[in-house]
Structure formats: structure tokens, C-alpha cells
């Protein structure tokens, strides 16, 4: 099959899945077997197609992107936006990650969502998500990418609010959508800037002509990239738009794994890589990207230290890890960013699915005893490794990966990013600060992950006497995908083994054709020799210390169950309340805006001023004036004569002027 056919087939398969499952959701919601077969089947097929695309591309000697024009979408004069897909090295990598991880998570969901009445609806949403995610990574121009960009946001909204009867869930979905929309505003404005500057919105055109069209470091390219990055902060949950992601944990756990860890939230990193040439031409923007990334990595990690909901910890961890990716991208190490994106997809999906297994077990236990305890609160767990051993071992692998312990996948990718930041410090010292923050965040990462593992799997079990008997490992359909992800978390680093341990940076070379325009502007001299070894050693040491501290501190004292736990005090309280950022946004933005709309604009301007004073006022004034003039009409002939004479005098004076 030719590459072009494979590309549209990769998208068409989940489209078909969405349509079938959507129809089933409306009319045959109980046909769960059919839903499972269709829902997961199309994804597996899409993954096979993606492999074919990858193979086809690697066999293509020209290395040029393959553009598949499906139809002309927005042709208006000079503007020619085609609904077109572009397959190049970057898109192929993303295609593999998306279809691969999605397939696994679809399989997992078959077990996890088995009992849910909205099973078919769930799979139709999930299929739809994959459609949009693929459109996002395959789109050949900004508007088509934006279809996917917003589409995944929509699916995220639908899936976060999947159990919509609970207001909290519906609120979380809405919050995610609106926060994302703030980012989308940035994306749109960036698109307008690009249109004004280039007169074209195709990625290929922009990459090719950026160097000749824009002045490096100029205002225009800086504006474009900053607005693009605003879009990224929304989609990829960076400061200041990150607050939706922890709330998004209200959705089913596989959704958190797929959308809010492995794929959608990395779209921002993908976008930066996709437009690398623009960012490379805008050093200020790049520094902002790196800075925001570093700050977010550190900031989110601190919050992660003090969360008790197992998914919230992972959520802040995701925010933090996304910060790393942006640190890499902002540093100019786009390949490293993508590399971390890939490894993170493996280990974080694993962590989420593992936590899903844990929650599944906890939920089953509480359900069996009709207890209303919180199945996600780690204070109610403890010692679970006896009950869910497979999950425990797999999550341990993922923990080591995220903590940056060699030879697990996360070690290589995180190390590359930190090394790049350090290297960039040579010509822009501020990057040393970023590097420092990154290192500190790595320490915290190891710490909170150790805390998570310790609270969940080690120590005494705190679930409850009766419930304990009901704690079971998940069925094979759920553990199976975890095993695959576990393997990938171990060996994932192999896709971009650095030279110093004998690798040849395969991913970096693979991505070269895409990243080359950017690299022309910001070449990065990576540290070599002893400096490199020192950096690597330090990173490993930091990871080990963090893990050790984490286990030590957590297991060193007894943990009360959630119900009986005393409230946090002091800085711990600030951390557990997430620095009060949500409250701050509510007080500074949401409430004033609603107040402005309701009290000032609607009741004030609209009802009082425009309608009351002007419109109805005109009517009232007319009526009053009429009423006043009417008073002259007394019925008295005398008055009439007087008025007559007044008029007569006026006329006679007027004629004699």
C-alpha cells in the first residue's frame, strides 16, 4: 500500500470506530462486546498502519515530507488551506506513540470500564480522541493542526466530564475546555501573525521561508512564538494555565493515562518542535519557553510532594515532566524534548494505568463492603504489593524510570534535557538557573514518587479490616497492556541512546530533516568528555538520593487513614492547597468577570443605561412630553384663544422681520 493511502487510513480507522461506537452508544448501549472489538480493533489496526507509515518513510531516501491533500478546505483568494496531512519524521514518531499507547489503553479500558453503563459512549469518545490526536500530529498546516488541537480538547472535555452527573466532574471538564481556549486564543493570534508575515499557513512553507521572511530575534517572530507558546501552556498545562490538569483527574483513569499524560498534553511540545525554526529564530521566546518549563517543573513538583490523591500526585508529576519537555524545547534540544515526550508517554501511562489498577482494586473492595471511603486517597492504601504484585512491580519500574535511574527510559531523556540546558548556559547564563531548577525538580520528582510508592505499596495496609479481603489484582486485559508499557519503560531509552554509552542518538538523527531548519539558528554544543560524565553522575545521584529520602521519610512515620487525618499545617497546607492558585484565579478572574458581566454590563449597561435610560427613556420622555402638552388642552376656549394669539403674534413678527 502506498504511503499516502496509509496516512488517511490511519485516521479513517478511528473515525469508523467512532461512528460505529457512537451509533451503538445511542441505540445499543449494551452491546459491549461489539464495542470492545470495534473500539480496540480499529486502534490496533491503526497502529499497524502507523508501523507501515514508519517503515515507508524510513525506506524513502529523499527524507522529504509526504503531503497528502485530501480536499481544499478554506480556499479564499490568496489563502489556500487544504485539508491535508503531512507525514515526516516527527509526525511518524508521534503517529507511532499515539496509536501505540492508545491501543494499549483501549485494551486496558475494556477491563477497567467493563461495568460502566456508558461503556459504548466511552469508547466512542476515546476513538474520537484518537482521530483528533492524529489530525493534530498529521495536519500539514496551522488550521488543520488546530482542528486536532481543539478536537482533542473537546474529547478531553467530554471524557473528564464522563460521569457528568457529578457536578465536580462536569466543572472539571468545563474548566479544562475554557483554560485550553485561553491557550487557543494564543494559537489563533499566532496564526494571524504568520498569515500576515508569510501569506501562507503551511508548515512546509513556513519552515522553508522563515529564514528569508522574518528577521531573527525580531519582534514579529518573537510575537508569533510567544503566542504559540501561550497555546502550548494551555494544552500542555504549563504555568499559568496548568490548573485544569489536576482537576482533569476527575475523568476515568485510562483517560488520564492517554489524554492527560501520554498524548494530548504533549501536543504543546510537539507544536514547538513542529515550528522549531520560529522558536530558534526567537531567542527571547525560547528563553521564555525554557524558563516557564523549568519553573513549572519545579513548582508542580513541590505541589506533588503533598498530595494524597494518587492521581493528583501523578497529575502534578505530569505537569512537572511537561515542564522538562519545554525546558528541552526552549533550550533548542527539540529532539530531546520529543525523546522525553516518548519515554514519558511510556512510563507515565504505565503509572496512571497502574494507579488505575490500584484504584480498581480499592474500588472493588469498598464497593463490596458498601463503604464510602475515598478509593484514590493513598492514606487509605498501604501494603498493596501483597495484593497487586504485578501492578506493584510494573509501577516500580516506572518510578525508577521517572526518577532518572539508569538504564530505565527516563534517565536518558531527562539527562539529555538537563545537559542541554547546562550547555546552553554557556552563552546564556540564565539557562544555568533553569538547569538548577531542573535538577532540583528531579530531586523532588524522585522524592514524591518514592512517597507515592511507599504510601501505596509498602507499610501497613490501611484499607480496612473487612475490605482487605476484597483487594485483588486486576484481570489480564488490564495488566497485559501494563506489561508492554513496562517493557517500553525499561528499554525505551534505546531509541535515542547517547554516544557516550555507545549509542548513536537514533531519534535525533531520525528527526534531523524536521529539526534542521531550527538547528541552523541555534546550534547547541553538547557537553562531552568529563563534563558529560559529571553531569550524568550528578543526575543519577540526585535520583537515588530523592528516592531514598522519599522512602525514608514516608515510611519513617505512621500514616493515619484519610478519614482520621489531621489537616495539614503551615507550608504543608499551602502545598496541599496547591499554593491557593485556584482560589487566586477565582478571586482575580472568574468572580470579577461574572460580577462585571452580571452587575455592570447586564443589569447596569444593558438594563439601566441602554434599555432603561435610552430606549425606554425615550418612550417615557415622549409620553411625559405628550402629557405635559396635553395639559394645555383644558377645554377652556379662553386658553385656546390665548394660544391662538400667541401663534398669531409669532407669525406677524416673523413676516415683518
Amino acid at each position: 500500500m502506498h504511503l499516502t493511502h496509509m496516512v488517511w487510513l490511519a485516521v479513517a480507522l478511528p473515525v469508523a470506530g467512532f461512528l460505529v461506537n457512537g451509533a451503538l452508544a445511542l441505540w445499543r448501549p449494551q452491546a459491549k462486546t461489539a464495542v470492545s472489538v470495534v473500539g480496540a480493533g480499529v486502534l490496533l489496526a491503526a497502529f499497524v498502519v502507523a508501523l507501515g507509515v514508519f517503515a515507508g518513510l524510513s525506506n524513502d531516501p529523499s527524507q522529504a515530507p509526504v503531503i497528502v491533500r485530501l480536499w481544499s478546505w478554506l480556499p479564499v483568494g490568496r489563502l489556500k488551506v487544504d485539508f491535508a496531512f503531512q507525514v515526516d519524521q516527527l509526525a511518524a514518531v508521534m503517529l507511532l506513540i499515539v496509536t501505540g499507547v492508545s491501543s494499549l489503553i483501549h485494551l486496558f479500558s475494556i477491563g477497567y470500564m467493563r461495568e460502566d453503563p456508558g461503556y459504548a459512549r466511552y469508547f466512542s469518545y476515546l476513538n474520537l480522541f484518537v482521530v483528533f490526536m492524529l489530525v493534530l500530529v498529521l495536519g500539514s498546516n496551522f488550521p488543520v493542526l488546530f482542528i486536532g488541537w481543539e478536537g482533542v480538547g473537546l474529547c478531553s472535555y467530554l471524557l473528564i466530564g464522563f460521569w457528568f452527573s457529578d457536578k465536580v466532574n462536569a466543572d472539571a471538564g468545563k474548566k479544562a475546555f475554557i483554560m485550553n481556549r485561553i491557550g487557543d486564543f494564543g494559537f489563533l493570534v499566532a496564526t494571524f501573525f504568520i498569515w500576515r508575515a508569510f501569506g501562507n499557513l503551511d508548515f512546509a512553507y513556513v519552515s522553508e521561508h522563515a529564514a528569508t521572511t522574518l528577521a531573527p530575534g525580531g519582534a514579529v517572530v518573537t510575537a508569533i512564538t510567544l503566542f504559540l507558546f501561550l497555546g502550548c501552556t494551555g494544552k500542555s498545562a504549563q504555568i499559568p494555565l496548568y490548573t485544569w490538569l489536576p482537576d482533569a483527574m476527575a475523568g476515568p483513569t485510562p483517560v488520564s493515562a492517554l489524554i492527560h499524560a501520554a498524548t494530548m498534553v504533549t501536543a504543546g511540545v510537539y507544536l514547538v518542535a513542529r515550528t522549531n525554526v520560529l522558536f530558534a529564530m526567537a531567542p527571547v521566546s525560547s528563553a521564555v519557553v525554557a524558563g516557564i518549563g523549568a519553573v513549572t517543573a519545579l513548582f508542580a513538583a513541590t505541589i506533588g510532594l503533598r498530595q494524597y490523591d494518587i492521581k493528583k500526585v501523578l497529575a502534578y508529576s505530569t505537569v512537572s515532566q511537561l515542564g522538562y519537555m519545554f525546558l528541552g524545547a526552549g533550550t533548542g534540544a527539540y529532539a530531546s524534548g520529543i525523546f522525553h515526550l516518548a519515554t514519558h508517554a511510556f512510563f507515565k501511562a504505565l503509572l496512571f494505568l497502574g494507579s488505575g489498577n490500584v484504584i480498581h482494586a480499592m474500588h472493588q473492595a469498598y464497593h463490596a463492603t458498601h463503604s464510602h471511603e475515598d478509593a484514590q486517597d493513598m492514606r487509605n492504601m498501604g501494603g498493596l504489593r501483597q495484593y497487586t504484585p504485578v501492578t506493584f512491580w510494573l509501577m516500580l519500574i516506572a518510578t525508577l524510570a521517572i526518577a532518572g535511574i539508569p538504564p530505565f527510559a527516563g534517565f536518558f531523556s531527562k539527562d539529555e534535557i538537563l545537559a542541554a540546558a547546562f550547555a546552553r548556559g554557556a552563552d546564556a547564563p540564565v539557562y544555568y538557573v533553569f538547569y538548577g531548577m531542573g535538577v532540583l525538580a528531579a530531586l523532588l520528582t524522585a522524592f514524591y514518587m518514592a512517597r507515592l510508592m511507599a504510601m501505596t505499596f509498602f507499610g501497613e495496609n490501611r484499607t480496612g479490616e473487612r475490605e482487605r479481603a476484597h483487594l485483588h489484582e486486576a484481570p489480564w486485559i488490564m495488566t497485559g497492556p501494563l506489561v508492554v508499557l513496562g517493557v517500553l519503560s525499561v528499554i525505551g531509552g534505546a531509541i535515542n541512546l547517547p554516544p557516550f554509552i555507545g549509542g548513536h542518538a537514533a531519534l535525533e538523527h531520525w528527526l534531523e530533516p524536521v529539526l534542521e531548519p531550527g538547528l541552523r539558528f541555534s546550534h547547541l554544543a553538547m557537553p562531552t568528555g568529563s563534563a558529560e560524565y559529571v553531569l550524568v553522575g550528578a543526575a543519577v545521584a540526585i535520583g537515588v538520593i530523592g528516592l531514598w529520602l522519599g522512602f525514608r521519610v514516608t515510611l519513617g512515620r505512621s500514616i493515619p487513614v484519610a478519614r482520621a487525618a489531621p489537616p495539614d499545617r503551615g507550608f504543608a497546607r499551602v502545598l496541599s492547597r496547591k499554593y491557593y492558585v485556584d482560589e487566586l484565579y477565582d478571586a482575580l478572574v472568574v468572580r470579577p468577570l461574572v460580577w462585571l458581566s452580571r452587575v455592570v454590563l447586564w443589569r447596569g449597561v444593558d438594563q439601566r443605561v441602554v434599555d432603561g435610560a435610552a430606549v425606554n427613556g425615550a418612550a417615557v420622555v415622549s409620553r411625559l412630553a405628550g402629557g405635559g402638552l396635553r395639559l394645555l388642552q383644558t377645554g377652556q376656549v379662553g386658553v385656546y384663544v390665548v394660544l391662538f394669539l400667541v401663534g398669531a403674534v409669532w407669525i406677524l413678527r416673523a413676516v415683518m422681520r
Partner: protein
């Protein structure tokens, strides 16, 4: 052209009479008196016509005859109307006649 036409004084007198009529209409409240004042105005105009007719031929004089006829007709109709209203209100004081207003 007649030598001594008294045009100026005639017109002045006419104007004074007219004004007296207007003033009467303005000041009096009795319907009959009011009507008499209107008649005074008409006759003031007649005087003017007569005075002017000295220069401009018979038109003015003819007009005077017509005006007198019309005034008579008006008087007939007017008095009948005043009579009709008197039946309702037992008064010809215009201050009492204000059923219609507003």
C-alpha cells in the same frame, strides 16, 4: 384719484377696531359677547376694504357686501348653536363649557 382719502386714518381705525375685537374675544367669557366681538372684527375689516376700495376699484366694495351676508349667516348659525348649548348647561359662560378636554 380722490384728493382726500383718509386712507391712513381709516386703516388705523380699522386696525384699532380689529384689535378691540380681538381683545374682547381674549377677555370676555360670555359666548354671545364673544361672538359680538368677532362681528366687530369683521366690520373692522369691512372698513379697511372700503378704504382700500377707493384706490383699487369695486372689488373691495363687493367684498364688503359678501362679508355682511356671511356675517349674517354666521350669526344665524352661531346663535342657534349658542341656544343649543344653553339647553344643556343653562349658561353661556364659556368657563362652564369644558366637557371636552385633554
Amino acid at each position: 384719484m380722490p384728493e382726500n382719502t383718509f386712507l391712513g386714518p381709516s386703516l388705523a381705525l380699522s386696525a384699532i377696531l380689529f384689535s378691540l375685537g380681538v381683545a374682547g374675544v381674549l377677555l370676555r367669557r360670555n359666548a354671545i359677547v364673544l361672538f359680538m366681538c368677532v362681528e366687530l372684527m369683521l366690520n373692522a375689516v369691512n372698513l379697511a376694504f372700503i378704504a382700500l376700495a377707493q384706490f383699487h376699484g369695486a372689488g373691495g366694495q363687493i367684498m364688503v357686501l359678501f362679508v355682511m351676508t356671511v356675517a349674517a349667516a354666521e350669526a344665524a348659525v352661531g346663535l342657534a348653536i349658542i341656544l343649543a348649548i344653553f339647553r344643556h348647561t343653562q349658561s353661556v359662560d364659556l368657563q362652564n363649557i369644558n366637557l371636552l378636554r385633554g
